[in-house]
Amino acid sequence: MNIEYIFYFLSALTIICATMVVVSKHPIRSVLFLVATFFCISAHYILLNAQFLALVNIVVYAGAIMVLFLFVIMFLNLNDQMEHNKSPMFWLAAIVSAGSIFLMVVSAIGTTQLSIPEGNTENYTLGLVENIGMKLYTDYLFPMEICSVLFLVAMIGAVLLSRKENKMISNSQIF
């Protein structure tokens, strides 16, 4: 099987799944189509020989983030929350404006000559785990440490935000 057909098939699948995320009525279906989109994008990463990214994409996005979304949707009990859709004119205006941005970018790419440097394209192991890990802990060490601080702040923020309001008031009255 030719690799071009794999690319076109995966691209079509990705775009169909992404469109279904936007147009499906129920949020659960949107989440499941989003998971399918992430798996398709991971397959693209494998085609590009970026294996570390493919693994991280599945573990972080399809594993952690989507489970978080599913829990929140089930937690909120949205059965009586029927969405009032916007008018067809609004859909039309949004599609026209988004499509014109897309056409603008595509025409800009079509007129640009991207120069691929010839002598530099010999290193094909750069997407593997040991290479990315080496980069992360030598050249990009400082952003990596900032990332861990960011996670700590996000964790504290999420816990603080989801605390009960009256408990905070009673604590402030005690102290």
């Binding site: 690799i3 978080l68 979304f69 970018v105 996670f151």
Partner: protein
């Protein structure tokens, strides 16, 4: 290590167009949907379109910096989702609704 076949058969422009298409679909979702959770998911879709362009450019130019940037984008997205969903749950407790028009009350 073998050379990825995709470099010889597919040009970088294909990947840029695919990533742009995913980004635009996410933008469309942000514009038209009223459920704030779906708007949030469409933001994830936009992030993934940009990630795909970064990773493909990194492979085509043989520079690992693009893939490291994708890693940082994923880290920031994970942190953003946890805080954002906490805010959504809290606003749902206050408003009993997920309609994004009601979230304009957040100002001031």
């Amino acid at each position: 290590m073998y050379k990825p076949d995709i470099i010889e058969h597919i040009s970088l422009n294909h990947y840029i167009i695919l990533g742009t298409a995913i980004f635009i679909i996410g933008l469309l979702g942000v514009l038209v949907r009223k459920n704030i959770i779906i708007v949030f998911m469409c933001i994830e879709l936009m992030l993934n379109g940009v990630n795909l362009i970064l990773a493909s450019t990194s492979t085509f130019y043989s520079d690992a910096g693009g893939q490291v940037m994708v890693f940082f984008t994923m880290a920031v997205a994970a942190a953003e989702v946890s805080v954002g969903l906490a805010i959504i749950v809290m606003m749902f407790k206050n408003l009993q609704s997920l309609n994004i028009d009601l979230f304009g009350r957040l100002k001031g």
